[in-house]
C-alpha cells in the first residue's frame, strides 16, 4: 500500500471521547468525530455548544481529556511539528496591529517552510494593501484579506477557520469564501470551518457536523443530508397523515399551509403529501437545535 492511499484512508482529524470542562460546565462531553481528507467540513452549533473548544483542542491550544489525532499526531504533545501542516484563522482581525504588510510576509516566509511569498503577493494584487501599510491603518475587511492571503500562501494540509468573516460586510464575506474555493482548496487539503452564517457557506461545504452541548448530533456529507432530509409543504387536508410519518419539525405558514421536515422518510411517499424540496442547512439546524436555550 503506498503512502497516498494511507493518507486518503486515515482521517485528517480523529477524535474519540473528548472531554473538556470550563468551571464545572462541560464544553466537550464525550465528543467523537472523524474528518476525512479533501473535505470542507462545516462545524455548526449554537453559542456555547463547544465549537470553539473543539477547534482549540484540534489546534493544541488547550489541554483536554480523550483521544485526538490530527494528521496522526497528538496536538497536546506534538503541536510544534503539527503546525507545519496545520494553519488556522481563529477569530477576525487578530493580526498584530503594529505589523506592516511586508513585515508580515517576511516573517511568515522566514518561519514557515511551506509559505510561498510570491503566491501571497499575487493574492494581494488588486487589493488596497500596500507594502508599508500597517494593520492598524486597515479596515477590518482589509485585515481579513491580508490574513487570508498569508494563510492561503501556506501549503497546509488542514486549514481551520473559526468565524473567519464575523463582522465583515457581505462583499468581503462572499469574496473570502470565493477565494478559498478558487485559489486554495484541492483534494489534498482539508478545511474545517465554523460560522453562524450558515446560509453563506452551505453551498461550499462537502460535509457538515452539528454540535450541541458538547456532543456531535449530526455528521454527514452534504449529499447524504440532501437525501435524508426532505421538507414538505403539507396541504391543509393531509396534516394528520403527515404527522403519522413523524416529522422532526413542523412550522405553520400563513394561509393555512404547514411546512414539515422529515428525516429518512421515502421521498415518493412524501410527494403525495404536498410539494417537497431539500431543506436549507439553516432550517435543518434550527430543527435539530430546538430547545437548546430553553
Amino acid at each position: 500500500m503506498n503512502g497516498t492511499q494511507t493518507d486518503v484512508m486515515n482521517p485528517v482529524v480523529s477524535a474519540r471521547g473528548l472531554r473538556k470542562a470550563y468551571k464545572g460546565k462541560l464544553a466537550l462531553n464525550g465528543t467523537d468525530f472523524d474528518i476525512p481528507v479533501g473535505r470542507i467540513m462545516g462545524l455548526i452549533g449554537p453559542n456555547g455548544a463547544g465549537k470553539t473548544t473543539a477547534l482549540k483542542a484540534i489546534l493544541g491550544l488547550i489541554p483536554f481529556e480523550g483521544e485526538l489525532k490530527v494528521l496522526g499526531k497528538d496536538p497536546r504533545t506534538q503541536r510544534d511539528e503539527l503546525m507545519n501542516d496545520v494553519c488556522f484563522i481563529a477569530d477576525v482581525a487578530v493580526l498584530p496591529r503594529w505589523i506592516k504588510v511586508k513585515e508580515a510576509i517576511e516573517f511568515v516566509a522566514g518561519v514557515h517552510p511551506r509559505f510561498d511569498a510570491a503566491k501571497c503577493r499575487r493574492f494581494l494584487q488588486g487589493t488596497q494593501l500596500t507594502d508599508n501599510l500597517r494593520v492598524r491603518e486597515m479596515s477590518k475587511g482589509m485585515i481579513v484579506q491580508l490574513h487570508l492571503a498569508l494563510v492561503m500562501a501556506i501549503d497546509a494540509k488542514l486549514l481551520v477557520l473559526d468565524e473567519p468573516t464575523l463582522g465583515l460586510d457581505i462583499l468581503y464575506r462572499k469574496q473570502f469564501y470565493q477565494r478559498l474555493l478558487e485559489d486554495y482548496f484541492d483534494e489534498e487539503k482539508t478545511i474545517l470551518v465554523t460560522t453562524h452564517q450558515v446560509e453563506e457557506i452551505e453551498h461550499i461545504l462537502t460535509d457538515v457536523m452539528f454540535i450541541r452541548d458538547g456532543k456531535i448530533v449530526l455528521n454527514a456529507p452534504m449529499d447524504e443530508v440532501g437525501e435524508r432530509y426532505v421538507e414538505v409543504l403539507v396541504d391543509a387536508g393531509k396534516l394528520d397523515a403527515a404527522r403519522a410519518l413523524k416529522p422532526i419539525d413542523e412550522r405553520a405558514l400563513p394561509f393555512g399551509k404547514t411546512v414539515m421536515l422529515f428525516d429518512g422518510v421515502d421521498a415518493g411517499q412524501l410527494a403525495q403529501l404536498g410539494e417537497t424540496r431539500n431543506p436549507g442547512l439553516a432550517d435543518l439546524f434550527v430543527a435539530t437545535m430546538k430547545g437548546t436555550y430553553a
Binding site: T4, M83, I89, A90, D91, L95, W98, K100, P113, V151
Partner: protein, 360 residues
C-alpha cells in the same frame, strides 16, 4: 532546525507530487527581527533621543558657559591669568603648566565626564527593558494576536526565548552602541570648544582620555548585564505570561508586599538574616536588575582602595570600577549565578504558561 528535519522525513514517507518542497527557515532570526520591528521605538529611538538630548544639553551648557565667561571678562570680574583657577579663555598653555598629577586628574576628569555623557541611553535602556518584558507576553494576549503567532510553526520555547534575548542582548547592545556614539559626540563637542580657545584637543582631550578603553569595557559588560538582569527579565516575563490583567501591579506588588510582610514579622530572623537581605537579594534583584551597573554592589573593588581624602585615587577608581577585571569579578559571585538560575527557571515557567494559557 529539528522540527523541519522531522517534517522532511515525514514527507519522504508520503510522497506528494503536487507539493512543493519546503524551503529553509530562519526562525530565531525572524523572531528577533519581529521583536525589533515591534519595539523599534524603545530599542532604537529611545536611546538615540536620550543620547541626542543629553548632547544638545551639553552643547547648550558650553554655549552658556562661554557667553557667561565672556561677559565676566568684559566686565572685568574674571582675571585672565590666574595662577590657580582655570585659564578660562586661553587653553594653549595649560598642558605646559601641568605636572604629572594634574595630567592624571585631567585624564580622570575627562573619562568621568565621558562616561557621564553616555549614561542617558543606559538609563533609558533600564526602562525600556522593564516595560518591554512586562508587556511582551501580556499584550499579545490582550489584543489576541497570540492566535496569529500560534498559527505559525514557531514553538513557545523559541518565542519566549527570543523575547528574553531581545531584552538581555539586543536592547543592551543597541543602547550601549548609542552610548558609545554619545561618548564620541561629547568628546567632539569638547574638542570643538577647546579648539575655539586655541587649545589642542589631541593634547587636552583625546590624549589624556581613554574613550576606546571605555567603549571596550562597556561592550564587554554586555554578557555581565545579560546574566545579571536575568532574574528581573525572568520575573517580568513570568508576570507577563501569567497575569490576566494589570501585569505591572502584580509584578511590583507581589515582591514588595512579600518584603513588607517579611519585614513586619521579622521572618528572616529564622534564617539569621536581616529583613534587608530579602529586600536586597529578592525584591531588588527581581525588579531592578535590568538597570545597568546595579551589579557594582557585589563587585570586587577591594583593590581600588578608595579613600575619600585622596582625590587622585578617586579618579583612578573610575577606571578600576569600569575595568574588565572589576566587571568580570561579578562572574565570580554567587549572587549573579543564583539570580541567573532563578531567572532561567522563571523563563521556563513563562514558556509553559504561554503554551497552555487558554485565551477564551
Amino acid at each position: 532546525m529539528n522540527t523541519s528535519a522531522q517534517v522532511m522525513t515525514m514527507d519522504e514517507e508520503r510522497p506528494r507530487a503536487a507539493r512543493p518542497a519546503p524551503h529553509a527557515t530562519h526562525k530565531f532570526k525572524l523572531l528577533l527581527k519581529r521583536e525589533f520591528w515591534e519595539h523599534k521605538g524603545g530599542f532604537l529611538w529611545a536611546p538615540i533621543w536620550a543620547g541626542g538630548i543629553s548632547l544638545v544639553l551639553t552643547l547648550m551648557a558650553l554655549i552658556v558657559g562661554e557667553v557667561a565667561a565672556r561677559r565676566a571678562v568684559a566686565s572685568g570680574k574674571m582675571s585672565l591669568d590666574g595662577d590657580v583657577n582655570i585659564n578660562g579663555l586661553d587653553l594653549s598653555s595649560i598642558t605646559m603648566q601641568m605636572d604629572n598629577s594634574d595630567l592624571n586628574k585631567l585624564a580622570g576628569g575627562i573619562d568621568i565626564s565621558t562616561v557621564m555623557s553616555s549614561v542617558w541611553p543606559l538609563i533609558v535602556l533600564a526602562f525600556v527593558v522593564f516595560f518591554y518584558c512586562l508587556g511582551s507576553l501580556y499584550d499579545e494576549r490582550k489584543d489576541r494576536s497570540v492566535l496569529f503567532w500560534k498559527s505559525l510553526p514557531v514553538s513557545d520555547r523559541d518565542t519566549v526565548l527570543s523575547k528574553a534575548a531581545s531584552a538581555l542582548l539586543v536592547a543592551p547592545a543597541i543602547a550601549i552602541g548609542v552610548a558609545i556614539l554619545c561618548m564620541f559626540g561629547f568628546l567632539l563637542l569638547v574638542s570643538a570648544f577647546v579648539l575655539l580657545h586655541n587649545g589642542n584637543p589631541i593634547e587636552l582631550v583625546w590624549g589624556p582620555g581613554n574613550p576606546l578603553q571605555l567603549a571596550g569595557s562597556m561592550l564587554a559588560a554586555i554578557p555581565v548585564y545579560a546574566l545579571w538582569a536575568l532574574p528581573t527579565v525572568g520575573w517580568l516575563l513570568l508576570c507577563s505570561a501569567w497575569s490576566k490583567s494589570k501585569p505591572f501591579l502584580w509584578a511590583i506588588m507581589l515582591p514588595v508586599f512579600a518584603g513588607i510582610f517579611i519585614s513586619w514579622f521579622d521572618i528572616m530572623n529564622v534564617f539569621n538574616l536581616e529583613s534587608g537581605w530579602f529586600w536586597q537579594n529578592i525584591v531588588a534583584r527581581g525588579l531592578l536588575s535590568a538597570v545597568p551597573g546595579t551589579w557594582f554592589d557585589v563587585v570586587d573593588i577591594n583593590n581600588a582602595h578608595i579613600t575619600s581624602s585622596e582625590a587622585a585615587r578617586q579618579i583612578e577608581s573610575i577606571h578600576q570600577l569600569l575595568s574588565l577585571k572589576t566587571t568580570y569579578s561579578v562572574l565570580l559571585t554567587p549572587q549573579l549565578w543564583i539570580g541567573a538560575l532563578a531567572g532561567a527557571v522563571m523563563i521556563y515557567a513563562a514558556i509553559r504558561l504561554r503554551r497552555w494559557r487558554d485565551e477564551g
